[in-house]
Point group: C2
Amino acid sequence: MQLQKLGERKITKQITKRFSIPYDDCALFEINGEYLLITTDMVYKKTHFPKEATFYQMGWYSIAINISDIASKGGEPIAYIVAFGLPRKMEIKNLEEILDGMEDCIDEYGGKLIGGDTKEANEITIVVTALGKVEKENFIPRKGARINDYIYVTGTLGKGGASLLDKNMEKLLLIKPRLKEGRKLARIGINCCMDLSDGLASSLYQLMDINQVGFKIYANKLPIDKDAKKYKNWLNLALYYGGDYELLFTTPKEIKGIKKIGKVIERKEVIIVKNGKEIKMENKGYEHFIS
Amino acid sequence: MQLQKLGERKITKQITKRFSIPYDDCALFEINGEYLLITTDMVYKKTHFPKEATFYQMGWYSIAINISDIASKGGEPIAYIVAFGLPRKMEIKNLEEILDGMEDCIDEYGGKLIGGDTKEANEITIVVTALGKVEKENFIPRKGARINDYIYVTGTLGKGGASLLDKNMEKLLLIKPRLKEGRKLARIGINCCMDLSDGLASSLYQLMDINQVGFKIYANKLPIDKDAKKYKNWLNLALYYGGDYELLFTTPKEIKGIKKIGKVIERKEVIIVKNGKEIKMENKGYEHFIS
């Protein structure tokens, strides 16, 4: 059987199961009473970036998506290691531009580039591994949602989808990970959190699986991005497109300034309420190997 | 200017200089009085492995080369994160074989696979990031060689080159990183160490650059691998081929059971003494982008 028969999430599930790895945004291990967070993301120029993307934007993006994972666990970044796969005919100035983007993103959000590896490859490949830390009591897992928790989402939804359609590379790639928000939520104490890189629907289904609960979302409460609203299918952009690097979390607490979009329910289903009607949300989003 | 005009080591030097990263086998940072070691290696099926290599061997190799880096700093592995880039038409059982190789290597040398990323790619790409630890006082840097130190090398030389020519994939890829030896050397206290993955000549030139000293090597003292000896150009295999995952180190101490191959000298040159004649060693070895 080929990998395309399974798709990215089933493959990942198989690997994590085999090695008894908790399925979360970051790996973690305890070191002197704190958690060290580790996360890695591989991006290929060919499959991850529209052709309009600049090298600077690719560099920024490859760092920022890792910071988003750390943010979703309530942590802060400490250090980055980068493995580059680069074609031999690549211009050195383009590598410099990638490094410019990385450096600016690191300057903005903290941490330090401390090492890496550079190899020859047919297509530009960037693998950033980020290390972060979080006090043990402040760590926010994916597993922890409770029935009747409110569901919240930071920022707006549909940004990723709209930017892709608009070919707005700055908005698509110069993402602003919710680091400050994650730290604040960690201190407040919330039940579960993940970042929205896979899209709202897919993320809720992943949380359903991990938490063995369901979710009811109200369409009229979703904070839709203004560029997404221009599209007739704005709801699809908000639900089924990835690339919104926002935080999705649940807590019974009232939290000001962050949009409440629904509730955790007992029945293991992901429901969207639209015009007073309850519809089952589809379990789809961007997924490697099959999308 | 294109990357191929520079070559792997000059590119790496440019990046490490820009971010003020010490050029060593592992990155490190202090955490509660210990050093956390981090190292990453990217391998491509297409460019790193002969076509005879099995998936199992690739899995083992991709973990083992990272352990070798940790061993060369006197540390021990704690955890691994793996980013996979995999073609959609790849057979699942081949991925399982890669994981078998990784698991067996981890079982042998310690640590735990704690996370990763899986993405679609045109060619099989494996990026392992390994974390290790070492007591601060036991860390062995690349920079630290002193004039008149002895130069030592563990195991034998020319194994990598001979295995490649013999198409002996087991010997080439199921490498045994010198973890125990590295830990022992760390406790004894030695001046500088690196692993020999780039080959003896290239490694000595890298150490010359970092330490601002020279090296004199005696050809008749080199521990030549028995399979390398079958080749007329055995000395070339020992000096200029990579893939010998041994430890190269310097210390003024007498160390039993490990082969002494030369001496650190003041003049910044890498010399090989053969049949009583001193010859300058060439600065070459396997290098991405130009080899």
